[in-house]
Assembly symmetry: C2
Homo-oligomer: 222 residues x 2
């Protein structure tokens, strides 16, 4: 039987989330655990991306996943099936996670035997961008069907991300109005250091670049 | 030259948003103006849906649009080109609109000569569901690429909507895992009264049912 916990996180008691996030980042560094905060709009393919990532890395890197959702636990079930330990975090209606909520999740997941932990944040391009979770790096997914104009509309999200995965690239022939050049340009106008990787979590296209980047991060932390 | 205003709305001074929303609904009723609060995830096609709707109705119904966005004004420009008066509401980073912010927008747009006003809410399936804007009806768009599991994950949004437009139906042959039957069943489990209409804002498919529903609403209010 697949086994994963569902936990209900409480809103932070800390007034200063930024200071708490920096504390959590130091704690994770001391434990040699890399935490990736994965954000996107609803339906961009966060869970499918994680499944594809787990399949490619699980034999060499010890991966755990925290799935944040307002209500359901379908994602934790999917990740557990993919072969990584997972917990489901219920936010109780909250639209984002802060550092203390993330710490509660990490405590339940247990990080001692993990090299790499993904936090799948609530599907939302607005609120999660405003709260530092204490992660080592921020990653976001923009899917091709959403359009190449999203950096104009959610500028903070694109500004805080270290990596942008442009997902569902297998559908580029259908969404002919999406321009790869334009989206890179718009992302780099907001955030010149953002790494942009074109992928398809369905076909696996582009995943070598993403998993190489993850491997590099894990090696730096050891 | 295309002309539209950009206004910066302030957070509500009213503690009780529900009471304020009911007041706004009564004010609009007295003016024979129908207000539709249109919500969706980022990139589901709200603006394209409005352009297609305006093209079909503008000769018989006087339509105005309030475009809410955190930052850009690309949507108000697009709507103005489509032939309806529009204003751009900047929320100053806020992830939703409440009734008082909506009232500020209506005041700037001017409703005396309008039968039907659309509020294009911030692209977000979480926070806008929690705030009654005072609209006559709530409508949401779920696009096919987002997947048919979204009712599980954003149950409040599906619960508060009178109409769900399932958009980008022209891409159903590509997103073969999306089931029309399953999505209707999942929506109706949460909200048995929700009207579900399958459309494509790109091709115009399904729009007769949507515009008939809008015409009926406007007639009821006159």
């Amino acid at each position: 039987m697949l086994d994963y916990k569902i936990i209900e996180v409480k809103q932070s008691i800390f007034e200063d989330n930024d200071a708490d996030a920096n504390r959590l980042r130091e704690e994770l560094k001391a434990q040699n655990t890399v935490l990736i905060n994965l954000m996107s709009a609803p339906g961009s393919g966060k869970t499918t991306t994680l499944c594809q990532t787990i399949a490619r890395l699980k034999d060499s890197i010890r991966i755990g996943v925290m799935e944040a959702d307002i209500d359901s636990d379908v994602d934790a079930a999917t990740i557990t099936e993919a072969g990584a330990p997972a917990i489901q975090i219920h936010t109780g209606g909250m639209c984002h996670l802060d550092a203390d909520m993330t710490r509660q999740g990490l405590h339940e997941l247990g990080t001692e035997d993990l090299d790499l932990v993904f936090l799948e944040n609530v599907g939302n391009l607005v609120c999660p961008a405003e709260f530092d979770t204490g992660s080592s790096k921020n990653a976001m997914i923009l899917s091709v069907p959403e359009g190449d104009d999203k950096p104009f509309k959610y500028p903070l999200m694109f500004s805080v991300c270290d990596v942008v995965l442009v997902n569902k690239c297998d559908t580029l022939p259908v969404f002919t109005e999406f321009s790869k050049e334009r989206v890179v340009q718009r992302i780099h106008e907001l955030n010149p250091n953002a790494k942009v990787i074109f992928v398809s979590a369905k076909t696996g296209q582009g995943f070598d670049e993403w998993t190489d980047w993850l491997r590099g991060l894990v090696e730096q932390h050891q």
